[in-house]
C-alpha cells in the first residue's frame, strides 16, 4: 500500500468522473478503472467510494441505473450526465493549470529568481 500515492483531498470526484466518462461503470468497476488508468498508482478506499457516488448523483453529475454486470450479477451502473461532462472538462482544465504551475514552480533554478 505504501507505494501508492495518497489521494489529495477533492480529487476523488474528478477521478470518478473521469473513470465514468470512459463508459458506464458499476461501483466496483469505478475502483478497477481508476486503478487501471492511474497505472495502479492511485487506489481508493472501497468505503469512501460510495458516499462520493451518491453525492455526485445528488449534484446531477452522474446518473444511476440498475443493470447486469459482465458476469451476470445485478449491479448499479453510473454514467455521466451532460452537466457531469461539463464539470469534468472544467475540473480537468483547472487541474492541468495547477499541475503546470506546480511543475514550473518546482523546476525553478536559483539563477531564475
Amino acid at each position: 500500500m505504501t507505494d501508492q500515492a495518497q489521494i489529495l483531498p477533492g480529487t476523488l470526484d474528478i477521478l470518478i468522473l473521469k473513470a465514468v466518462s470512459l463508459g458506464p461503470l458499476h461501483g466496483y468497476g469505478v475502483l478497477l478503472r481508476i486503478g487501471q488508468i492511474s497505472g495502479q498508482a492511485l487506489l481508493i478506499e472501497q468505503g469512501a467510494l460510495y458516499p462520493a457516488l451518491f453525492r455526485l448523483v445528488r449534484q446531477g453529475l452522474l446518473k444511476a441505473s440498475w443493470g447486469t454486470s459482465e458476469n451476470n450479477r445485478r449491479a448499479k451502473f453510473y454514467e455521466l450526465t451532460a452537466s457531469g461532462r461539463k464539470r469534468l472538462r472544467e475540473q480537468m482544465e483547472g487541474w492541468n493549470r495547477l499541475a503546470t504551475a506546480m511543475g514550473s514552480a518546482l523546476a525553478a533554478q536559483p539563477e531564475e529568481v
Binding site: H26, Y50, A75, S83
Partner: protein, 881 residues
C-alpha cells in the same frame, strides 16, 4: 437539471426510505461479491475470498450512513429529529408545555387583537383604489362640515384635486311598497363614485351629469349588503320604483361587495345624489350658512403637495369671504385622513391604540421573561441529562439546537392558539353593532399583515426566551455535574432575572393603575350632573319620512305630544329637535345685542342650540335657575324669546342675574330676549368643560326633527309598547325609534367603555403574568434554599424569620415593582384622561386600590411557596443528600 436531481435525491431520502436502504444494501453486496470473485480468481479459496472482500470493504453500516448523508437534506433531517425528540420530551411534562403555550397564547393573542384593530383603524387605507392620496378638507375655524354652495365653489375652483367629492350621512324612510322602514344613507355628490373610481356591481352609478339643481336626480344606488339582505339578490331590482320619504325614486344600481362608502365602520343602506337633500325637510340645499355636508374629500392630483393644496383652498376661501361677507367666516383649511371621521376621533383613537399596542407588547415581553425563567429552571433540572449527553460526545451546538427547537415549537403552538383565539374574538366583534341606532360595525378582519405579525412575534419570542438558558448550557461542565449532582448556588447579587421580574411587576401595576383609574373615571362620569334626568323614555320620529313639511310639521308635533300625554302614567312630555349627549350637537352663532355687524367672525359665541316645546324642561328634568319656561304663547306671532344656560349668561352678560331679561341677536339679526336661565349640563362629551347652550321655542324656530322625552314611573318595556301604538294612531307611516335616556348615552359612553374594558383585560393579563412570575421566582428560591431553611428551623428559627429568609427577596422585588408601576401608571393616566372623562389618578381610592391589588397578587403568588417553606421538616431534609 441539477436542482431536479437534488430534489429527487431528498425526496427519495425522506419518502422512499426503506426502498433506498434496500437498494444500498444490494449495491454494497454486489460490490463485495464482485471483489470476492476477483480474489477467488487470483487463487484464494471461495470462503476466504468472501471474508477478505468483506474485511477490505470495512463497516457496511458506516458506509451506508455516509451515503445517506451524501444524499443531502441533512439540515431538514436533523430538524425533524430535533422536533421528534422535543415532542417526546414535552409529552413527558405536559403541565410545563401547557403552561408555556397558554402564557404565550394569551400574550400573542392580546397583541394580535390590538394590532388587528390598529390595522383596521389606522394602517389599512379605505377599500378604494389609491386610497393613499385621498384627503379630507378640515376647516381650521370649524370642523369638516361645509355648506353645499361652499362645496360647489371649492369643487369647481380648486386646481389641486382630481375630483372633490362630498357626502352627508342621513336617515330616511324607504318604502318598497309595503312598509316604510328607516334606512341610513349617504347623500353623495354626483362625482362621488367616479371620483373614487369605483365600478358598479349591477346597473349603473349616478354621475355629475345627472345633477341639474335641487331634487333633479331621484336615484338610488344600493350597497351590496342591503341588496343582499333586503332584496335577496334580485337582479330585477334595477329600474324598480321605491319611495324615499314619500318621494318617488328609482333604483339604478348596486355597489360592489366590498364598498360601503368611505367612512370606516359605517355601513349605509344606499346612496342618493346629494342634490336631492331637500327631502330631508330641514336644511335647504343652497343655503350658504348651513353647514350640513358632512365630509368633503378628494384625490390629490399627481405632483401636488398637501401644502400647495391647502394654499389653493385657502385662496378660494378668502375669495368666498370677500364675496359673501354675511354668510362666510374665515376659511382656512388643513388636509386630514377622511376615513376616521376626519380627525374627529382619529387623534385620540390613534393615541389610545398606540398606547394599547405598547402595553400589549410589554405584556408579551413579560410573558417572554416568565418563559425564560421557566426554561432556565427546566434547563437546570435537566443539567444531569445535558451533562451526560455532553460526556457521551454530543456537541453543545446540538444540545442548544434542541433547546431552541423546544422554545420555537412552544412559541409556534402558542402563537397558533393565540391567533386562533383572536380571530374568534374579532369575528364576534365584527358582528357586534355597538350603537343600536346606527349601522356601525367594527369589521376588523385579520389580513396577511396580522398573520405575519403573529408568526414573527411567535418566532421572536421563541428565540428570546429560548436564549435565556444558553449560557447555562454552555457553562455546563459534564464532569462536575455527573460527580456531584446539580449544585444549588444561591445568587445574592441582582440578576437579570430579578430585573425582569421587577419590570414585569411594574408593568402589571401600571395596568392595574390604569384600569382602576378608567373604571373610577367612568363611574364618576355616570354619577355626575348631566343637566338632565337619566330616568326618562325617548321616542324619536322624523316627520319628513312620512311626507310632512312646512306648517304640517308643528301640527303633527302637537298631535304626537298630545297622544303621548294621553298614555296613562305619563307625567309630562317634552319635544326637542336634538338631545344632549346623543348623536352630535347643532351649534349656532349668537351676537351681542349692541352689534350690528353680523359676520360670523364677529359672533359673541357659538352655543349649542336646542329647539324645544314648552314642557321640555320639566320632562327632561333640566331645572331652571331663574326666570320662566316657554309657554304655548311663545309662537310665531309673539316676540322672540330664549332660555339660556348659566354658562351662556355668564359669558354673554357677566352674570346670571344680569342675563335674565337681557337681549342678544341671532345670526339673522333677530333680537331675542332671555326669559329663563337653565342649569349647565353636558352636551357633546362627558368630559367637556362647561359650554354655553340655549333653548329656543320650537314654535318660533320650527324644526322637523322630533325627539320626545317622556317622564313616567311606568316600566320602560311596557311604556315603549304604549308609545308605539299611540304614535301609530297619529300616523301609521311614521317610523318610530324608542329607547331610554340611559341607553341613548351608549354612543358617548362607547369610547370610555371600550377603553375601560381594554385596560381591564390587559390588566388581568398583566396580573396573571405577574402572579406566575412571582410564583416561579419564590418557588424556585424556596426549593433552592430548602436545606438552609431546614437548618434555620432546626436551630430554632421563628416562623417570621424563616418566611423572611425564604420570601423576603420576592416581596422586596414586588414592592419595588409596584412602586415604580404606580408612578408610571399615574403618568400614563394623563393620556387616559383624553378618553375617559374625569379619569384622575389623584384619587385616594385608586391609590389604595392599586396597593391592595398588588399586595393581594403578591400574597396569591407566594402562598404556596410560603406554605412549603414553613412546613420544612429539618430531620428529613438533613437525612437526604
Amino acid at each position: 437539471m441539477k436542482l431536479l436531481a437534488y430534489f429527487r435525491s431528498i425526496g427519495e431520502k425522506f419518502f422512499l426510505r426503506s426502498q433506498l436502504s434496500a437498494e444500498m444494501d444490494e449495491e454494497l453486496r454486489s460490490h463485495i461479491a464482485l471483489r470476492a470473485e476477483d480474489l477467488e480468481r487470483s487463487g484464494l479459496e471461495r470462503e476466504e475470498a468472501q471474508r477478505r472482500a468483506r474485511i477490505e470493504f470495512g463497516g457496511q453500516e458506516k458506509v451506508k450512513e455516509e451515503c445517506h448523508q451524501a444524499l443531502g437534506g441533512n439540515l431538514i433531517e436533523t430538524a425533524i429529529q430535533d422536533v421528534r425528540l422535543t415532542l417526546r420530551m414535552l409529552r413527558k411534562s405536559p403541565g410545563f408545555a401547557l403552561a408555556a403555550i397558554l402564557t404565550l397564547a394569551l400574550a400573542i393573542g392580546a397583541n394580535t387583537v390590538v394590532f388587528s384593530i390598529m390595522n383596521a383603524f389606522i394602517i389599512r387605507p379605505l377599500n378604494v383604489p389609491h386610497a393613499e392620496s385621498l384627503y379630507g378638507l378640515w376647516r381650521l375655524e370649524d370642523d369638516m362640515s361645509e355648506s353645499y354652495p361652499d362645496y360647489v365653489d371649492l369643487r369647481d375652483r380648486n386646481h389641486s384635486f382630481e375630483a372633490l367629492i362630498a357626502y352627508n350621512v342621513n336617515e330616511v324612510a324607504l318604502d318598497t311598497g309595503n312598509n316604510p322602514s328607516r334606512s341610513w344613507i349617504e347623500e353623495a355628490s354626483g362625482n362621488f363614485f367616479d371620483g373614487l373610481n369605483v365600478q358598479p356591481y349591477l346597473g349603473r352609478f349616478f354621475h355629475a351629469s345627472d345633477e341639474h339643481g335641487p331634487n333633479s336626480a331621484p336615484y338610488i344606488v344600493l350597497t351590496y349588503k342591503y341588496w343582499h339582505t333586503h332584496f335577496h339578490d334580485d337582479r330585477g331590482v334595477i329600474g324598480q320604483n321605491v319611495a324615499v320619504n314619500k318621494h318617488p325614486y328609482t333604483v339604478i344600481g348596486v355597489a360592489p361587495p366590498g364598498f360601503h362608502g368611505t367612512l370606516l365602520f359605517f355601513h349605509p343602506d344606499f346612496f342618493v345624489p346629494i342634490v336631492n337633500h331637500d327631502i330631508d325637510g330641514g336644511t335647504q340645499l343652497n343655503d350658504r350658512r348651513s353647514h350640513w355636508v358632512f365630509i368633503t374629500m378628494g384625490h390629490l392630483k399627481a405632483g401636488v403637495t398637501t401644502g400647495q393644496a391647502v394654499a389653493d383652498l385657502n385662496s378660494i376661501g378668502q375669495d368666498l369671504l370677500r364675496k359673501y361677507p354675511k354668510d362666510e367666516g374665515k376659511m382656512t383649511f388643513k388636509l386630514v385622513r377622511p376615513s376616521m371621521y376626519g380627525d374627529y376621533i382619529g387623534g385620540p383613537v390613534r393615541e389610545f391604540l398606540t398606547g394599547l399596542m405598547l402595553l400589549a407588547s410589554l405584556i408579551l415581553l413579560a410573558a417572554c421573561a416568565n418563559l425564560g425563567s421557566l426554561f432556565a429552571a427546566r434547563a437546570a433540572d435537566r443539567s444531569r441529562e445535558v451533562a451526560l449527553r455532553l460526556a457521551l460526545g454530543s456537541s453543545r451546538k446540538r444540545i442548544l439546537r434542541g433547546l431552541f427547537t423546544e422554545a420555537v415549537l412552544i412559541s409556534l403552538a402558542g402563537g397558533a392558539v393565540g391567533l386562533g383565539g383572536s380571530i374568534f374574538l374579532l369575528r364576534q366583534l365584527s358582528e357586534w353593532q355597538p350603537f343600536p341606532r346606527f349601522p356601525g360595525y367594527m369589521a376588523v378582519t385579520p389580513d396577511s399583515n396580522v398573520y405575519l405579525l403573529a408568526l414573527l412575534l411567535a418566532l421572536a419570542s421563541g428565540f428570546l426566551f429560548g436564549a435565556v438558558p444558553v449560557r447555562q448550557v454552555l457553562q455546563t461542565n459534564p464532569y462536575e455535574v455527573v460527580k456531584t449532582g446539580s449544585s444549588g448556588r444561591i445568587g445574592r447579587r441582582i440578576t437579570a432575572r430579578d430585573v425582569l421580574l421587577v419590570v414585569q411587576i411594574a408593568l402589571c401595576a401600571v395596568l392595574v393603575t390604569s384600569s382602576l383609574v378608567a373604571v373610577r373615571g367612568l363611574a364618576h362620569c355616570l354619577r355626575s350632573n348631566f343637566g338632565f334626568d337619566l330616568n326618562t323614555m325617548l321616542a324619536e320620529t322624523d316627520p319628513p319620512m312620512a311626507g310632512y313639511s312646512g306648517d304640517r310639521v308643528p301640527a303633527l308635533q302637537k298631535r304626537m305630544i298630545d297622544a303621548l300625554k294621553a298614555i296613562p302614567g305619563v307625567e309630562s312630555v317634552g319635544l326637542a329637535d336634538q338631545l344632549p349627549l346623543s348623536e352630535g350637537s347643532i351649534y349656532s352663532n349668537v351676537f351681542a345685542d349692541t352689534t350690528s355687524d353680523l359676520r360670523p367672525s364677529k359672533a359673541a359665541m357659538n352655543p349649542v342650540i336646542f329647539k324645544v316645546s314648552p314642557e321640555y324642561f320639566q320632562a327632561a328634568g333640566t331645572s331652571l335657575l331663574s326666570g320662566r319656561s316657554f309657554s304655548s304663547h311663545d309662537d310665531k306671532d309673539s316676540s322672540r324669546v330664549a332660555v339660556v344656560n348659566g354658562q351662556f349668561a355668564r359669558r354673554m352678560f357677566g352674570s346670571i342675574q344680569n342675563g335674565l331679561g337681557s337681549y342678544f341677536k341671532m345670526p339673522d339679526g333677530t333680537r331675542t330676549q332671555v326669559v329663563g336661565i337653565a342649569e349647565d349640563g353636558k352636551y357633546d362629551r362627558l368630559g367637556e368643560s362647561p359650554r354655553p347652550a340655549m333653548y329656543l321655542p320650537i314654535l318660533q324656530s320650527p324644526s322637523s326633527s322630533s325627539w320626545m322625552v317622556l317622564r313616567s314611573r311606568r316600566d320602560s318595556q311596557e311604556l315603549g309598547g304604549a308609545i308605539r301604538s299611540a304614535l301609530r294612531e297619529v300616523d301609521a307611516a311614521l317610523p318610530v325609534y324608542i329607547t331610554t335616556r340611559y341607553r341613548a348615552l351608549d354612543t358617548v359612553l362607547f369610547g370610555p367603555r371600550m377603553a375601560t374594558l381594554a385596560l381591564g383585560i390587559l390588566g388581568g393579563l398583566g396580573a396573571i403574568l405577574a402572579v406566575v412570575g412571582i410564583f416561579g421566582m419564590a418557588a424556585y428560591s424556596v426549593s433552592k434554599r430548602l436545606r438552609e431553611l431546614g437548618i434555620r428551623v432546626a436551630l430554632g428559627g421563628q416562623r417570621k424569620e424563616v418566611l423572611q429568609a425564604a420570601l423576603g427577596r420576592a416581596f422586596k422585588l414586588l414592592a419595588y415593582g409596584s412602586a415604580a408601576g404606580l408612578v408610571l401608571g399615574i403618568l400614563a393616566s394623563r393620556v387616559l384622561a383624553f378618553i375617559v372623562a374625569q379619569a384622575t389618578p389623584r384619587d385616594p381610592l385608586v391609590l389604595a386600590g392599586v396597593v391592595f391589588a398588588m399586595a393581594l397578587l403578591g400574597l396569591l403568588a407566594t402562598w404556596i411557596p410560603a406554605r412549603r417553606a414553613l412546613s420544612v421538616d429539618p430531620l428529613r431534609l438533613l437525612r437526604e443528600d
